[in-house]
Subunit: 445 residues, 2 copies
C-alpha cells in the first residue's frame, strides 16, 4: 500500500506472535537494521524455485518482501497461501528495497491455497473483464488492481476532510422510500413487510430537508438505479458523494464549493495514495483556482449542435473537454444553464430567462462527472412545479413540509465515485474500478 | 452548532450578499467588534413582540443571535421564515453572548413560513414520539434534537480517524446480494430486473473477502433487516460501522482494536461535538486502557442464570453492566465465548473447548452495542461448518473463493450507530436518534 502507512506499528501487529517477536510490515523492512530477526506475515505472492534456492515474495498490506530459502528441508507453500515467516534481515543491494529475509522459518497459516484464477504475481493483470469480475475477491489482490481502489478510498478521505473543514455535517439518510415518485424513473421495488417500497435513487429529497436543519450537509452512500441498459458507464448500484448547502446566492456558490471539493479529492489522492498513483501511471488532474464555466447555449454553439438541442451528447461532452483543455488548460469544465425541460422539477430556473436553469454539469476530461445546481426554495414554486407536471402536491407531503416551514435558497451536487476513479485511471468500463459491480446481469460475487 | 465550527468564514458565506457585506455566522458575533455593520442569515427562531420593541432571535448552523427591532415600520417575519438581516452589532451585557444586532434591515428569503408543528424555540422539545417522527424534517431543527445527530456525526469522524490511523482501508460493498442465504433470516426481497435479489443484512461476507485484499478494512453504511417485531431498539434500516482485520492471533486482537475504535469515537465527540454534549447533559463515557472481559460461562454464573442458557437476556445484560461499573468502574464490558450454537457458521470456536466460540459482545452501560469475534479462515473448516448446517458449500461459492485462495486468521466487529447514540443520550427509543427511521409501520417522512 502506501509507504506512509500510518499503521506500520500497531496493536494487533505487535501482539501477533506466539514467540513474542512482533510483526514487521514489508514496507518497514528497508528502514529496519539488517542482522535482526524479523517476523513478516502475508500471502505467498510469488514462489520461484531455482536449482540451489527458492525465492519467496511475501505480500502484505504495505507491500512486498523477498525471502530467500536455501535449506532444502524448508517447505515453501503454494502461491496465495498465508504465511508467518521469521528470519534474518539481510542487506542485499540486488533485492527490492535493498533487503531480504534469509534463513527463514516458514509457517503456513492455513492449508495450501489453490492456484489463483488470475496470475497475481505478474506486474500487469492481463485478464478479460469477465474473468476479472467473476473472480473479483481474488483479482482485487493484484497490486495494480488494488491501487485503483486505493484511489477511491483516498478520494473519500479528501472529500470528507474538505467538507468537514467548511462546516458541513455528515448525514445518513434512508434508502427505503415510500413512493416511486420520490425517486424518479428506473426504481427498484422492495417487498416491505408485505407492501411495496422503493430504493432511493439518490438522497436528493433528504439532503434538501436536512439543509433545513444543518444548512450544510454531505452523505456518502449507495444509490440504486434500475438501469435497463447495459453500458460501460452505468451500474445498478453505485457510491454517490452528495453535498447540499443553504444560504447561497445562486448555483455559482455551489460551483465554488464543488471546486474546493474536487481540489480536496485530488489532495487526498496525493496525500494517501501516492504509491498507487505511481503504480498506475495515473495523471492526477490539477484543479485551477476557478473552473471555467460555459453556458449551455454557448456549449451547443461551440460544438456546432442545433440550438434547440435539449442535452449534450457524449461526443459533445468529449469535444467540450478537448476545448477546455486547449483554451483553459483545464481538465474540468462546468456547463451551466441546462434547459429547464430536461432538469428535475425542483430545479431553480435562470432568473430572467426561464428556458434555462441554474443548474450545471461538471465535465472531467470530457465526461460528465457531477450534476448539480440551485433548487427551488419557496413552497409556492414547488406546488406550481409539481402541478405543472400534472401531479398533486399532496403526493409530496413529507418532502414539502420543509418548504412550508422555511427553507433558505440552496443547492448542491452529486459525484459518482466509480465514474471519477474510472476516468482517473482511464478504465474502459466502470466495472473495472467497482469492488463488486451490480448490473442488469450481475449479482455475484 | 459548535463554537469551533471550522467553517466560520467560508466560500459561499463570503459571497452571499447583494450589497457586498459578507455574512457573519451567529457564533462569530461575540468576537466581532461592536459598532460594525453585520449581516446574518438564518431562520426566525423566535419572535417576541413587546409594546415598544420586538425581539427577534435568528438561528443559523452555528447558533443563535438576538436582533432588536425598534422601528415599528420594520416587518418581522413569522417563526421559521428564513431571513437576511443587516444591522449594527451592539454590545449589551444582558443579551446572549453579550451582543445583539440593532437597527436592522430584515429581508425574508421566502414567503412567510407556516407555524411549525412543534415549538422549536422552547428550550426543551416536549412532544410525543409520533409527532416527533411525523414531523422529523422540522423537529430536527430544534437545537436539542439536532445536538443528538451532532453526536452521531462526530462519532463517525472519530471512528474513521482511528481506523485510518491504524492502516485500515475504507471499502464500499454492494447492498444487493444474490441469495437470502448470504444474508441470513429476515431479509428484504427486491425485484431485480425481474428476478429476486436481497438486501444485505450486513457487509459480513464482503468485508471478509476484502481482508484478503487489504488486510484491514472498514465500512460505514446502511444495513437492512426485515425485523418483524416492533421494539424500541430495532429498525428496518440502520447505520452499521463495520470493521474486519487479518493476521490476528484470536478475538482478543480484535477486541484491542475495538477498544481503540470506541476511544476514538469518544474523542471525536469531545473534539467535534462539545457544545452538543453540554446542551444534552450527556455523560460521555471514559474508555479504560483495557476493557474488562468476562467469559460467557462466568457471566451466566454472575447473574445467576442456568449454565445451559444459550444467550444473555436483556436483564442479564443490565445486571452485567451494573457489575462492570461497580467492580471495574467501567461503562463497557466485553463478554467472550458465546456458545457456538448461537453464533453464525463462520464463527471460530474456542480452541480446546468447542462448545464456546472466540466471539464477543461489547456491552455499553448494560446494553449490547457491538458483536464481533474471530472468524474461520480455513476452507476446510468452512465446508465442514456449512455441511453441518445441512447446506451445500456450492451455494456459497462466491464467498468461499477467498478462502480457497488463501486467507489469514481474521476477525472483526459491527457497531450500530443509532444504538450507540441512543445509549449516550439515554433515549428511550432508538427512533428518537435516527434521522428518518424505518420500521414495520413507518416509511415516511
Amino acid at each position: 500500500m502506501t509507504s506512509n502507512d500510518p499503521g506500520l506499528e500497531t496493536l494487533a501487529d505487535a501482539r501477533s506472535s506466539t514467540t513474542g517477536l512482533p510483526r514487521t510490515l514489508c514496507a518497514a523492512l528497508p528502514e529496519t537494521p539488517p542482522g535482526r530477526q524479523v517476523r513478516i506475515q502475508g500471502w505467498v505472492h510469488r514462489r520461484r524455485e531455482l536449482a540451489a534456492l527458492t525465492f519467496l515474495v511475501v505480500r502484505d498490506r504495505s507491500g512486498l518482501a523477498q525471502v530467500v530459502v536455501k535449506d532444502p528441508a524448508v517447505q515453501v507453500p503454494s502461491e496465495e497461501t498465508t504465511v508467518d515467516v521469521v528470519g534474518t534481515l539481510t542487506a542485499d543491494p540486488s533485492a527490492p528495497g535493498g533487503v531480504e529475509v534469509t534463513a527463514p522459518t516458514i509457517r503456513s497459516l492455513t492449508e495450501p491455497a489453490a492456484t489463483p484464477p488470475v496470475e497475481l504475481w505478474r506486474p500487469a493483470l492481463n485478464t478479460s473483464l469477465p474473468t476479472l469480475l467473476d473472480h473479483a475477491p481474488v483479482a482485487w489482490r493484484h497490486p495494480a488492481q488494488r491501487a485503483r481502489w486505493e484511489l477511491a478510498a483516498a478520494t473519500l478521505r479528501g472529500f470528507r476532510a474538505t467538507l468537514d473543514g467548511l462546516g458541513f455535517t455528515e448525514v445518513q439518510t434512508p434508502k427505503f422510500v415510500a413512493s416511486a415518485t420520490e425517486s424518479g424513473a428506473n426504481v427498484f421495488e422492495v417487498d416491505y413487510f408485505g407492501r411495496p417500497a422503493y430504493l432511493a435513487q439518490s438522497p436528493q429529497f433528504y439532503k434538501q430537508q436536512l439543509v433545513g436543519v444543518f444548512e450544510r450537509v454531505y452523505e456518502v452512500g449507495p444509490v440504486f438505479r434500475a438501469e435497463p441498459h447495459d453500458t460501460v458507464r452505468h451500474l445498478a448500484e453505485y457510491v454517490s458523494l452528495d453535498v447540499e448547502l443553504g444560504f447561497v446566492e445562486d448555483h455559482r456558490d455551489v460551483l465554488a464549493v464543488l471546486r474546493e471539493v474536487v481540489a480536496g479529492m485530488v489532495a487526498g489522492i496525493h496525500t494517501y495514495a501516492g504509491p498507487a498513483v505511481e503504480r498506475l501511471g495515473a495523471t492526477v488532474p490539477e484543479v485551477s483556482e476557478e473552473i471555467p464555466v460555459l453556458h449551455f447555449s454557448e456549449a451547443l454553439r461551440l460544438v456546432g449542435a442545433p440550438e434547440d438541442e435539449p442535452d449534450l451528447a457524449p461526443e459533445h461532452e468529449r469535444a467540450l473537454g478537448a476545448w477546455a483543455r486547449e483554451e483553459h488548460g483545464s481538465d474540468f469544465l462546468a456547463v451551466e444553464g441546462y434547459p429547464m425541460r430536461k432538469r428535475p422539477f425542483y430545479t431553480h430556473p435562470e432568473p430572467g430567462d426561464e428556458r434555462w436553469s441554474n443548474s450545471f454539469d461538471l465535465l472531467f476530461r470530457g465526461l460528465e462527472l457531477v450534476t448539480g445546481g440551485q433548487r427551488l426554495h419557496r413552497i409556492s414554486d414547488y406546488e406550481a412545479a409539481i402541478r405543472a407536471r400534472g401531479e398533486d402536491p399532496a403526493a409530496y407531503a413529507a418532502y414539502l413540509q420543509s418548504f412550508r416551514h422555511g427553507m433558505p435558497p440552496h443547492g448542491g451536487f452529486a459525484i459518482g465515485l466509480e465514474r471519477w476513479v474510472a476516468r482517473l485511471v482511464e478504465a474502459a468500463n466502470i466495472r473495472e474500478v467497482t469492488l463488486f459491480p451490480r448490473d442488469l446481469n450481475r449479482l455475484t460475487p
